[in-house]
């Protein structure tokens, strides 16, 4: 809906197609809709937190309680030999929580906006991005608490590796969007996704280094283990936040390449079918 071409139609000039929906939209197209993206994010957060007295506390309490239980079990009952186990756990758990929530809410974002999509034309990508950014706002607040806790109680100082945190968060968002794009596409056409997703997420939790470090995985399985796109990302968080070290180039490069490939594939699938979204009610 560009505002160009106001005035008399110039018949000689090439026609301008202003409609946005379904057309293969480059990033510039999404950028034009940043106002909409912002409104959707504000709406998501408003709807989630209005009329709840504790508001954000609930969002924080849920992972915090899980972290408490996991920390108690794996440092007292089933002992995982890691010093300051709680610090290890919080440095990766909130990223897992972001991924899990992104997958379990972002997947349905296209289906949830049927009314809007059938009455206004806009790039469907914006809906997926709005889910990611909404979660990112919450994650940023959680991460701030985690970083402060680690600095005060674990490192007793600020490790230089914390400079990499913005990069890791960027990788996390690219990977999350890359995973959600094809899932959101399939879930428009097939209702199986909502049955399969909770099971898949439960399994993903155990095959991802959330409550144990990647180093405990037998070396024979390491190569296969890193096929899980979350394995590299969570290990990066452990290295940078918990150990306070800079990661190896192979780990960082491999994770970034994996995220880029997943994003590209996911976007190809989404692009291929997004023109049909408006026709499925």
């Amino acid at each position: 809906m560009a505002a160009d071409g106001v005035g008399v139609i110039a018949r000689e000039s090439p026609p301008v197609r202003v409609n946005a929906a379904g057309r293969s939209a480059p990033l510039a197209d999404v950028w034009r809709y940043r106002g909409m993206l912002r409104s959707l994010v504000v709406r998501n957060l408003k709807v989630k937190y209005q009329r709840s007295a504790l508001g954000f506390v609930w969002t924080f309490l849920n992972p915090l309680l899980t972290v408490g239980i996991l920390a108690a079990v794996f440092s007292r009952v089933v002992r995982i030999p890691i010093p300051d186990y709680w610090a290890f756990l919080v440095s990766g758990y909130f990223t897992w929580n972001f991924m899990q929530q992104m997958l379990s809410t972002g997947t349905y974002v296209i289906a949830e906006h049927t009314g809007l999509r059938r009455s206004v034309a806009f790039p469907n990508e914006v809906l997926v991005l709005s889910a990611a950014v909404s979660r990112l706002v919450e994650f940023a607040i959680e991460l701030a608490f985690v970083l402060v806790a680690l600095v005060l109680l674990h490192h007793h100082g600020v490790p230089a590796s914390y400079a990499l945190v913005p990069l890791l968060v960027a990788l996390q968002v690219v990977l999350a969007v890359g995973l959600v794009l094809p899932l959101a596409t399939v879930s428009v056409f097939y209702s199986d996704v909502q049955h399969a997703l909770p099971i898949a997420l439960m399994m993903l939790f155990y095959v991802s280094p959330v409550f144990y470090p990647t180093t405990l995985v037998p070396s024979a399985f390491q190569a296969v283990y890193y096929l899980n796109p979350l394995a590299g990302l969570l290990t990066l968080f452990h290295v940078v936040l918990y150990e306070g070290r800079f990661p190896s180039g192979a780990l960082l490069g491999g994770t970034a390449a994996g995220a880029a490939v997943i994003f590209a594939l996911g976007y190809v699938v989404f692009n291929r079918y997004k023109a049909l979204f408006a026709e499925v009610v």
């Binding site: 809906m1 026609p15 202003v18 106002g35 409104s39 009314g115 059938r118």
Partner: protein, 242 residues
């Protein structure tokens, strides 16, 4: 705005696979995944609307009027053919369908306007105008779930005209609201026309559209049956449909 040879094919599914289990079984057995027949809503629409023109689309139910509007709006993609539009476009189709029930009228208006492509600054600037035009009093600060259907329609319409599009697409929206609101809508649409706006209207309220649109296009089974002066086209349509 021009449509050239636009075809929109929807499929009528005799069997539609909606589970992945069935998808795999059918893939293995080499049976077709969907059994479908093409059902045409538009079979080759040619329509050219010049800048500043107002056109009414008339025709019986299922003749493809709303589909044509959705194609022009870019909500649907044509199966064949080309649609060209110039200038900013706002569509009022399924009034208020995009509203979020938990948000207030103001919040929904902001959201809707930004979805229609307004920047944040423009939204802030136009909001008073939208609120004034909708004229639903203190309800503007209440969640939309407490609105009557008339109030929702007023708000949706107010947003659409206040985004100041070059092309306005209206689908059966003149039939809503009370008499005084209708009067104000018509006044606004007349002003929109006078200001050089292009308008395509789908309505069965022939008295009203006649006043707004000098030209009418009669769609019949997905084809243009007749295109010309409103009165002539309407007379022919009446003669056939009584």
């Amino acid at each position: 705005m021009a449509c050239r040879g636009v075809v929109k094919r929807f499929h009528h599914y005799e069997h539609r696979t909606t589970s992945l289990r069935e998808f795999f079984i059918r893939s293995v057995l080499r049976r077709p995944i969907h059994v479908r027949r093409a059902r045409f809503t538009l079979r080759g629409l040619d329509l050219r609307v010049e800048h500043g023109e107002s056109v009414a689309l008339i025709g019986s139910n299922g003749s493809g009027k709303s589909t044509a509007l959705r194609l022009i709006a870019g909500i649907y993609q044509p199966s064949e053919g080309v649609i060209e539009t110039r200038g900013a476009l706002a569509a009022v189709i399924e009034l208020g369908a995009g509203f979020h029930p938990e948000l207030t009228g103001t919040e929904n208006a902001e959201l809707y306007a930004s979805v229609m492509g307004l920047s944040r600054a423009e939204v802030t600037e136009r909001l008073p105008e939208i609120v004034a035009f909708a004229d639903i009093g203190d309800f503007i600060r209440e969640p939309v779930k407490y609105y009557s259907s008339g109030m929702q329609a007023r708000l949706a319409f107010a947003v659409a005209v206040c985004v100041r599009p070059d092309i306005l697409l209206l689908d059966e929206v003149l039939a809503v609201g009370d008499q005084s609101f209708r009067e104000r809508c018509l006044e606004r649409l007349r002003a929109f026309r006078a200001g050089g706006g292009t308008m395509i209207v789908v309505s069965h309220d022939f008295e009203t559209v006649r006043e707004l649109c000098p030209r009418a296009v009669w769609l019949h089974h997905g084809l243009v049956r007749m295109d010309g002066e409103f009165d002539a086209v309407f007379a022919a349509y009446r003669a056939e449909h009584g």
